[in-house]
């Protein structure tokens, strides 16, 4: 199973014992997954099982140089889809993509890395 990484993350984030949920208090920062891919087309799904009041998340993918002390989609190394207003982000620019998502939604992510 793909889990949240224990080392490849902003140190101030709190990762649950089963490594399937993460909580941040001070400002937005990032955690990457336990697995990575190098090329080809990949698809994964994330089910939103809980969204406490006032919480928000940005899911997507990041190369290893993505800044961990900023939200996913902050720099040129990562792309994200935000729970609030369903905006998609890359290099901190937000573009409309879908309605916001919330508890119970299942998000699908597909990306293709050409062999080059």
């Amino acid at each position: 199973n793909v889990l949240l990484s224990l080392h490849d993350r902003a140190p101030q984030l709190k990762v649950s014992d089963d490594r399937r949920s993460v909580t941040g208090e001070k400002g937005y920062s990032m955690i990457r997954a336990s697995h990575c891919v190098k090329e080809g087309g990949w698809y994964y799904e994330a089910t939103i099982t809980d969204m406490p009041e006032g919480s928000a998340t940005r899911l997507g993918w990041s190369q290893k140089l993505g800044n961990l002390q900023a939200p996913l989609g902050y720099d040129k190394f990562s792309y994200s889809w935000r729970s609030r207003k369903g905006t998609r982000f890359h290099q901190s620019k937000g573009k409309h993509y879908s309605d916001g998502y919330n508890k119970g939604d299942i998000l699908g992510f597909y990306f293709y890395l050409p062999p080059s």
């Binding site: 001070k26 400002g27 800044n67 002390q69 900023a70």
Partner: protein, 157 residues
Amino acid sequence: DLPMAMRFRQLRQLTRDSVGVFRSTIHGRGLYCKRDFDGGEMIMEYTGQIIRRELTDKREKYYESKSIGCYMFRMDDYFVVDATVLGSGARFINHSCEPNCYSRIVQFEGKKHIVIFALRRILRGEELTYDYKFPIEDDSHKIACHCGARLCRKFMN
């Protein structure tokens, strides 16, 4: 010679009675002392908004776009104190090539504080200065310094 934490506890009250603000030709305001300070004495805390280091670039650019002088002070590897909009008078301590103050990070009740200390004995009426570089880079905004000190940095900002 009290322990640092006790000295810090009294600092807030002490500062009110011992540091004043005057109109400075360098940056509009400067601080001077209303009584003598012994070398090593705590003078005041440099307070402001505690922000994550990652936010400083964006804020500097914003202040620059509004041509507001940016006053920030690094607290540690993660946090910076931004005293530009919300801050203590310590942000008015002007630069000097021969400063009479220096700063230290003091830990108190689990929180870090930037505290300004007297580098040497400072007599009543003297301006408080410390050695830090102003953020202004382009020479057109520079104010020349003629202090003649050995380590003169040629500019007051």
